[in-house]
Each structure stands twice: as structure tokens, then as C-alpha cells.
Amino acid sequence: MSELNNSAPKKGLAQKFDDFKALDARDKRSVIGNWLLDHAMIIIIVLLVIYIQIQRPAFLATASIVNIIQLTASRLPIALGIAGAIILTGTDLSAGRVVGLGAFVAAILLQKTGAVGRFFAVGDPWPVLIVILLVLAVGAIIGFINGFCVAKFKLHPFIVTLATQLITYGLYLTVSSAKQISSLDESYTTNLITAPMFKIGNTPVMMYVALAAIVTVIMWFIWNKTTFGKNMFAVGSNEEAARVSGVNVTAVIIGVFALAGVTYGYTGFVEAARMGASTGTIGLNYELDAIAACVIGGVSFVGGIGKISGVVIGVVLMQLIMSGMTFLGISGSITYVIKGAVILIACAIDMRKYLTKK
């Protein structure tokens, strides 16, 4: 993400300090203020962690840290997918339901042989690799439809993805009759997604953490190192400029939504294994948490702005809140108030960075 840095000649720390000392009191205050603002999200996270840690010393125990990492890993890919849509000044409301559909497809194909109430009465679980590709393809197809409608019919993504959200859920209900699919094969669950990779202390870290890390690296690469990624930012920043410069804007929009769809399919695949079943509520409202995380992490609805690191910070903050509230023993009703307040305040602070100062 170095290309976003305005590369003023790099100064040594000592030089910076001297520069700082040379400023008058008022400018000093504003330099400090700006620094605080630029790092507001990290500062909030650190303050939050310190505060919870003082109140509940068990918070930074291994079990708890691993739990937060695992929760983050489960929600990160979908946020990375949605971030692309936000960079295009759009949004994607279909995410959660695509996750649900992906979970369903994975679950029916990977049910144990002879499980009671098996979806396909006969047959063996499919090879996991084929299933994962299939689930990713399902996500990609719905994403493709989203992108196609946005790019070709010039509809706002809000409307398009609201429609596909309903359609996806309807299809899921029709095919599944809202049945839960459990008794999933071990090759899928405990031997893959929820397989312990290694232990920290006594707490095992599960495989999907590594998978999420791989997804994140791939997304970072796509965003920063490929023509497609750069075109995505350009289209988000100024669609017309991109078009005039010969960028195939339609292909970029379709690509961004399809890629997002792939991350939803992936999330569905992981969620079914994590939950031990596919149900109608898997994925419900995931998109809202993901959008909130993106915006907290500085992916702006203005378009063309966003970093992978920001999305990661956003997701971590959201999961910290959830886990922190549990630690502090705050009741469910108040949790909503705090979550809402955090989203609002975090975004307000983050937005200050982008305002042109006059």
C-alpha cells in the first residue's frame, strides 16, 4: 500500500523531532492532533484493550486472544469482498444470503454417508476440493449477476443487491425447504476447517485462521499489484476518467462483484463447518457487520479509497467490541447501543482524515 504514501523525502527520526521542536505551540498542538487522528482506530483499539484488561485480567489470556483471532478470521473475507463494492461507491446487500446459500451447498454435498435425514438419501460426501470450487463458483455467479446489472443497466448496487439478496434467500428456501443440514463429514469439518493447526498454550488454533490469512494476502495482492485492482480504484474514484482512458469499466465492475461473491461463497463454506450445520440463519445480516467494519476501517463510500489493512482493523475492532462486551458482562440490550455508538464515532473520526482543510 506504499503507493498511497505521498513520498515526501523520508526524514530521520531525529530530524523529525527537531522540526517538531521548531514549531510554535499552536502548530505543535495541531501536529499532535493530526497524528492522533491519523491513528485514531489503532488508538481506540489499544485504549479499549487496556481498559478491558484492567477490568478483566483474563481478557488477554491465550484462550481469549485465540478466540478473537478466530472470530476475526471468520468475518474477514466477506468484509474484504464487500470493501471492493464500497470502493466502487456501491454496496452489497446480498452478501449474507450468498453466505447462507454457500453453506447450504457445501453442507448437502459433504453430509456423512447414511446420516439420518440426509439431504440426498443416498451417496457419499464429495471430494472437498471439488465442493469448495463449486461453492466459490456459486458465489461468483451471483456476484457476476450483481455486477452485470450494476454495470449494464446502470442500477444502483443497493437496489440490485437487495433484489439478489431476496432471490438468493428464496432459492435457498425452495431447494432446502428450510431444513437444517447437519452430520457433516469429518473430511470437511474437524479434519479441515476446524482442524487444529497448532496449539498456543492449551488452546488450539483452527485451520480457517490460516485460510483467512491466505485470502487476505490474495486480496492484498489483487488490490495493490494487479491491473484489475488499480482499475477498481480508478473506477471508484472517477468512472468517467477510467472510461476515457480505455479501461473496460463494465468488466471491472462485474469483476469486483464476482470477486466479492467468491469471498461470500468461501465464508459460507467455512461457516457451515464452524457451526456444524447449514441453517437458514447462517449469514443473516453478515453484510451489515461487514459494511460497518469496512467503513470503520476507512473504506469510504465516497469511492476510490480503502486499504486492506484498514478492513482488517475494522473487522478486529468489531470483534473486539463483541468479545469485550462479553468480558465486561454487559447485557445484550446495551451491547447494541455501544456497537452503534462505536460505528458512529469511529467513522466520524476517520472521516476527519479525508476532509480538505481550508
Binding site: Q180, S182, T279, T281
Partner: protein, 353 residues
Amino acid sequence: MKKLLSMVLALTLVLSLSGVAMAEGNTQVFWYSLSDVYLSNVRTSLNADFTAAGIEFVDQDANATQTTQTDQITTAIATGTDLLCVNIVETGADGIAQNVVDQAKAAGIPLLFFNRSISEDVVKSYDKCCFIGTNYEDAGIMQGNMIGDYLLADYEKYDLNGDGEISYIMFKGDEANQEAIARTKYGVENADAKLTAAGKPQLKFYDDSNAQKYLVDQNGTWSRQVAQDYMTTVLAQYTEANGNMVELVIANNDEMAIGAVTALQQVGYNNGEGTVTIPVFGVDATPDAVENYMKPGFMAGSIKQDYEGMAEAICTISQNMIAGTDMFANLNENFTVTDGWKVVIPYAMYTGE
């Protein structure tokens, strides 16, 4: 100035956390949904019982989403809680409950399921685990019997179009919920049994083209609003003038029953003196249904889920579990313990008298 403001905001954020009353969080209660009416009655009683018993507790809201709840439970286990009370979201899939039980078992934390049903195998897979609920079929069976008796008391009065049959509408709370499925089934079957025994024809679903013979809340929230919307739509087509008026309303819970009553009231039914009253039946006997709908005669009857008893049972067993004594010690004798895993809180018919 604005910068100062944002700093103040950030500070408020952190400080606001400390302003909230915090409990030690020894016991964590995971509710399927904080907005469910029956459950909120249980919660009010339980909170009072817990406080009286000196148990520190925290209520968590899954907001009708299993993944949220599972993540909450995982997090609670990581915090080292003493007891987990789970009102599980997904009742149809053993895999999900088993997942929760396995986690609790691995951490050695006692686990108590309540209200939303769990299968025997899952509960029995962990010695520090039990289920407090009802025989979920009972509510539907009782509701069906009640309806049968009610109609037989004055059959001709309820057969508005005089075709000899009673046409009914059924509201189902959640497509995949076992209790909803049972209530939908027995609420009609048991009424039919009573009617046929008395030589009357079976109930007839108001809409022949609907093979399911029920209307379901697709969000799975057993919601008053959804039932009201359905009923309003239905009443636009099915009227006394057309000779096809709906003559009986059966709902899986009181909230949906109230929704139906409200829709009926809007078109001039069920308003007490001087208006025709369509019999409407629910389940739960919530305070709202009892006080505002059954006592004035707008709603015909309900099945009382004993929320105070439910809370009492949860509290007693929680104390035992925390103390590490026999789970079912000192339990009120109205509650029966089945097979060492299930505590049954009995239902009762309720007609507002």
C-alpha cells in the same frame, strides 16, 4: 475545535463502557431473541430469581441468528464463565447443539438448555447438561383439544356461512422450528378428532389452493406484525359477503393471534358487544394477550406456558450446577424430571375467565 470534539468523542466512547453497570458474569444466559415476548417474560422472572439467589448473570442476545449465538458462547467459554444457560436458536439441527455441548464439555462448564428444544442424544452426551422445557407437542395437543371443545359448545354459531364446515386459518411461527411444526400439526389434528367424535366434519383450510395449509412467518420470528399483514390480506378476499369468511384462527403463539385479532378488528370483527367474534386461539397466555385480548373477549383462548415456573426451574438447577450438587435437587414437585435429562414444565389451558 473539531479535532477537540473528535477527541472528546473518542474519550466518551471508552468512558461510556465504564458507565454501564457490569456484573461479574459468572452465569451467561444466551437468549434466542430479546424481542420475543414470551421469552422476555421468562427473562424478567429469571432476572429477579437470579438476583434473589445471589447469582451474577449476563443476558446475551443472539438476535435469532445461530452463528451469533455460537460465537457468543465460544467467547463466553473463553472468558471462563461458570455456567451457560442456552436458549438455542436452531432447534432442528443436532449438529449445532452438539457443537455447543462439545465446547462446554471441553471446558468443563455446566450447560443448561431451556425453552427451545434439544434432542435427548445431544443432552446426554455431557453429564453436566440438561434441558428445561415443555413436552413441545403438548401445547399443540392441548390447543387442538381446546378448540374442539370450544367449537362443539355452539357449532352453528361459529359456522357463519352455514355450510356445515368451519373454515380456519393457521399461522406458523417459524418454518423449521420443531415446536412450530408440532403446534401446526396437533392444533388442527386434535380439534378434528374432537369434532369427528361428535359427528361433525373436520376443519377446512380457508384456501383450497394452499397445500401446506398454513401461513408462515418467513423471518422465523413468530411475529404479530407478520400475522396481521397476512390476515389483512386474507380478509380483503374472504368476507361474509362472499360467503367464504374465515371462521376460526389458530396461531402458534399469542403474538400472531393478536396480530390476527387486530386485523379482524380493523374490518369490524372481534370488538366485543355487538360485533361478530371469530374465535382466535394462541399459545403462551402472555400478559398482553390475557389482559388486553382474552379478558375483553377478543381472543377465545390460549395455552399457558408457565414462564414463572420456567424461570424458577432454571434458577434452581443453576444453583445446583454452580454448587456442583445433584442437578435436580430441591426442584418444585410440579415439574417432572424425565429420564434424567429433561425437566418438563406443564402447560395449562387458558380462556381468560
